[in-house]
Subunit: 244 residues, 3 copies
């Protein structure tokens, strides 16, 4: 079973490798795929919406290790969510709650397994990675009796009218799902009103537009140019949809 | 068969993982190697020369997924190139043309396979990755009748007298192959005339020189220092060779 | 046997993929794990201390390819170190010496194998990767007669009272092992005296503290904020411990 990683650990930093060393010990034959390690640091809310959008592209069955965890070492609980045949392992701080709310069928389990020793600051390596590895290799008894009835922190499944991520091209992903946005609507952010185009090559070089991106989200982009720099966009910035 | 990735998707961004999720579905037993995801964004010309230099290090048989594709969603065609026993999958926008022009033996095929659904902005995930995965796993009938006689966009196999990449040390790779450059030649860029050294440790700390890099290209470097910052070098900047 | 990579090659740059292409040829069934490719460039001393801290998390048996090698192409020798059941392959420039000095049991071997052709600037790909691959696949006769009695460059096993790495959150790792530092001690750097906290969530948002990080090192951090930016910390900056 493949293991997918979604974290704010930094793709070039020294944390992901330590997690993978543990995963390979617990699940030697599993593929491990880095979905994203540049989730905005410390920002659980936008992380939860990014994860929910990416989760639709994750095959089932699978295990996803999801860690944006500024409260590591505090009292927040470790949990497993089984959503539409896909396992998600992470902290009960809201990060898994958008996935859960949007799932057709989902269950929540507390993680009661504990390592012999764990660094207070790195549950990703010492707690979540072993559990993800055990799930992926089938060594873990997931049918634990104490299934939880809900999450401690629940952000709900609604869209988030904010910029949730800015990619290295300078495209700004929002937490708005494009399926419910009319193509003649404008996306408004700050003083800018932005019109729709189907794809980059349909507008002039440097022109800003919004489109339905490959995750199904409203995204603000510019053709062969950096939209975020042009418009001074930042993660967490509000966006609105204006129709008529 | 191993799959090599060469893109401008950003090594830390959320695109590579989505591509790998698809590759693992189509070719579960293939090694997937990230050659480069920081190819200069939107710049097909320098990407084509970088890819051609790297391609000489790729073992055969293999499949390389190559995507620098600012025109994704427009009319440019998807193609496969078989060059000296190595498959290359990508857009017919010039990116594969330097590899093709320098190959001893090469053939070009149109990609006629189409996915049931594809995001207009992410053919790397929805079209090129499935094809690369099928090639790597042997599931794809490459001997298609409609072999193409050439490319729509052809940059040719000649050297490119420009900076084509600046690495994180600040070394500036050029599109000039060093085999044909005399060791007593100077490399000229802007107002600078730069002399040759065999290797970093042969010049003083901070000193700028050119050398034949590990890909066989003329590279402008400095010992334990950032040459690109010292000389304000940028991708696309012209370079010349001065002899005598 | 798994292969771990520790280099200053840059996680997004075009060097790691070339190394992996070679590793897969020599050890097709080995897992390859990127521990860190953002070791501070050209800085062997802090690299040696980072590697020693990470090495405690590497399982045995294993092979680690370690390259921070500003003197590549000069006379420094290639070596293999077997430390507590783990192989380390790299240059004899001090990089492996802290691992060696702290090992319970260790031996040093010269690398006498030479490739037919090698780029003077990329022994990581042309010399160290083949040797690491051969070790991992068991094809290499490690019991070479000419076991070395020591290293040419030896930094010793003592702590390093410097900032050795700054992660992407802005946390500053030091070369001080926290086990021997009293919890009521202050860590002093520049004009700042920094008190202890067990974990991030025990201090207020933005507050700076030191703690024992997940590698067992003294680390200067701030809760949900960038400590290095707040305190203008840099790799190589001296730190001291003040007690009483």
């Amino acid at each position: 079973m493949s293991i997918y990683l979604f974290t704010d650990f930094g793709s070039g930093d020294l944390y992901v490798g330590q997690v993978k060393a543990v995963l390979h010990q617990y699940a030697p034959s599993a593929h491990v795929v880095d979905l994203l390690h540049e989730a905005p640091a410390f920002n659980v809310k936008v992380g939860a919406h990014l994860l929910a959008a990416l989760a639709e592209r994750i095959p089932a069955p699978s295990v996803t290790l999801a860690v944006v965890d500024p409260g590591v070492g505090s009292a927040r609980e470790p949990i497993m969510v089984l959503a539409d045949g896909k396992w998600f392992v992470g902290p009960d701080n809201g990060l898994l709650s958008v996935v859960l709310a949007r799932a057709q069928a989902a269950r929540v389990f507390p993680i009661t397994w504990r390592p012999e020793t764990a660094a207070a600051s790195f549950h990703g390596r010492d707690l979540f990675a072993p559990v993800a590895g055990m799930l992926a290799s089938g060594d873990f008894d997931a049918a634990q009796p104490e299934q939880k009835t809900g999450l401690d922190v629940n952000l709900g499944g609604d869209d988030l009218a904010e910029v949730i991520y800015i990619d290295h091209y300078g495209n700004a992903l929002t937490g708005l799902r494009a399926g419910s946005v009319e193509r003649d609507a404008r996306v408004v952010t700050g003083a800018m009103r932005i019109g729709y185009a189907r794809v980059f090559s349909e507008v002039a070089d440097g022109e800003v537009f919004w489109y339905e991106n490959s995750l199904g989200l409203v995204e603000i982009a510019a053709n062969s140019a950096n939209a975020a720099a042009k418009l001074s966009l930042r993660v967490g910035q509000p966006v609105a949809v204006e129709t008529g």
